[in-house]
Amino acid sequence: MVFYTQSLLRRITSGHVRMFGTALEAIKVPEEPPQTFRTIENNPANHTIDHMNRFYTIAPEIQKQLFQHGGLTKFFQKQVKTFAECSILIRQPAIEIISYIRQSDYSKPPNKYVLYGEFGVGKSTTLVHLIHYAFATRKILIHVPWAQNWFSRPRETANSIVHEGNIDLPIDAAAWLVHFKNQNHYLLSELDLRVTKDYAWSHRETTSNGTPLLEMINFGINRIKFASEIINVLINELKEASRDGKCSTMVAIDGYNAFFSEYSAIRDDNKKVVPPSRVSLTHAFLNITKSDWCNGIIVVAVDILATKDRRESYLPRFLLNKEGFEHMDPFLPVHVKNYTTDEFEIIAEYYKNRKWIRDISKQGLRELQLLSQNNPYKFMEYCTPL
């Protein structure tokens, strides 16, 4: 928290200096026109309906901490590098969920929000906004950048030691632990969360009651053989801790419907396909999305691209399947839509400001709008060669 406020302060002061401090600077900075498409409120914890359709900027250090190991879409990551800033449009679905989060009852099981929408409408980017919100409100983050990666591109497979017939993905599990640690290490050390049970991994290696969680995570990163099981334990411990009120937790999973798919590239010893339901990571993350704990938030995004077998519709019940629907029920489906005309104009203005597009007439913009059908991804794509 200290770190965060400091960084925020620094940003505010630097902005202040730029606004009023012309006397000190040797080179005269030209006066920029007032940027109506931006808001100076860069803390998502304060975002309300008033900030809608404005851009806000995620500070580079926060961006590095939260999304170094994934979370931003590939194209967006490129844009961040090119634009030299990580700015996100504050859109209706994010604001809607934030308002729900503010008014929900934390003594009850976590409310579940399912983001759905067509390809490229900004589900993942909405999730980024919400993750930043959770970070700003000091919540432990359990974030899966893209669940499908584990099943379509497994890096290594091993038979599970604990659960017979299940498959472990040691490297992927360790990578996720690194991601988790990267996102949460300040908060974990600050809250001083500790393990509440004794765990024996092997004859020599044990984690006793009272060991800090961070230590266990480090152990999992070093001994990737146990990484999958450690994730399982970690999630149970976090559930326990949230239930006891030691911390509050936010679960954010992108491509959640991959867990309920039949398709996977993982093969067992008999060269037979292992469905995601038999992978130990699936169990862990289905466990955290159950309703048997409290003091948390669950936000997942379902996407057509997360499954290979069900792609006819983008609606949540179809993508989740009956099994997934029953697992999540009752959840709040939140529709992420294409840009409205206002949003489109704001985005165009932002692109012009970043010099991504230059001297385009009104008619040209209209052409782009019709061509992209207001779809954010398509619009981004059509703007690239201009």
Binding site: P30, F83, A84, K355, W356, R358, P385, L386
Partner: protein, 233 residues
């Protein structure tokens, strides 16, 4: 009666012959075009159309049949004839979609490189950085255009490399080809759009391999200036 019939046949035969003769002439002058020579070439660019309308030219050609536009010519604001031509030069085996995608990715890379430069430079330097990839392409092509070319000619049993002036279209083609060839000479792991973007930026600054190639050609022409008169005799 029989005679009359044969006469008739002869006449019709002659007519057929005449017809073939005429059609042969048409096909030669028409360059195998699908459309008869009476068709004129229209314009699909809105500004030119407006010009026609204002000058009253449109009234004159109102009843003349017009050839349709090609399917890759649009009246969009983003249409550029040079970009279209360059796409066709990149294209291999008729895969136009691929060629267009390659060029679009090239433009993206050009823009990203230039924007990063733009963001990291001071205010004075910023104005000098060209961000429009189409303009960069135009500049690059203009910088690579040769003025002369060497043409082998046989005089007295000896082949001389004769410097000859070249037409505008040939010069534009050579410039594009050199840039593309320079971009294709790369490691297998590097994608064409990356290298092409780099080559375009270099050429637009009057550097790079394509520009050097042009200069080398000019030097060779100069070395062979003694044979220049062979072009005209």
């Amino acid at each position: 009666m029989a005679i009359f019939r044969t006469l008739l046949r002869q006449v019709t035969f002659q007519k057929v012959l005449l017809g073939t003769k005429r059609s042969g002439v048409i096909s030669l002058t028409n360059n195998y075009s699908l459309f008869p020579s009476t068709f004129i070439k229209g314009t699909f660019i809105p500004s030119e159309q407006n010009k026609l309308k204002e000058s009253g030219e449109l009234q004159k050609i109102a009843h003349i049949p017009i050839k349709p536009a090609f399917n890759d010519e649009t009246s969009s604001e983003f249409y550029d004839p040079i970009v279209r031509k360059f796409t066709n030069y990149i294209m291999r085996k008729g895969k136009k979609v691929l060629a267009r995608n390659l060029l679009e990715k090239t433009f993206e890379n050009v823009k990203r490189i230039q924007l990063e430069k733009y963001n990291s430079s001071s205010f004075e330097a910023q104005t000098e950085i060209e961000l429009n990839p189409t303009v960069i392409l135009h500049q690059a092509l203009a910088n690579c255009k040769p003025v002369l070319e060497l043409m082998p000619m046989r005089r007295g049993g000896v082949r001389y490399q004769v410097p000859v002036p070249i037409r505008e279209s040939r010069s534009a083609f050579l410039a594009a080809r050199w840039i593309i060839e320079a971009a294709k000479d790369k490691e297998r792991t590097i994608h064409l759009p990356e290298k092409l973007a780099w080559e375009l930026i270099e050429a637009s600054k009057n550097q790079g391999r394509a520009v050097r190639r042009k200069q080398e050609l000019h030097k060779q022409c100069e070395a062979n200036r003694a044979y220049a008169h062979y072009r005209w005799s």
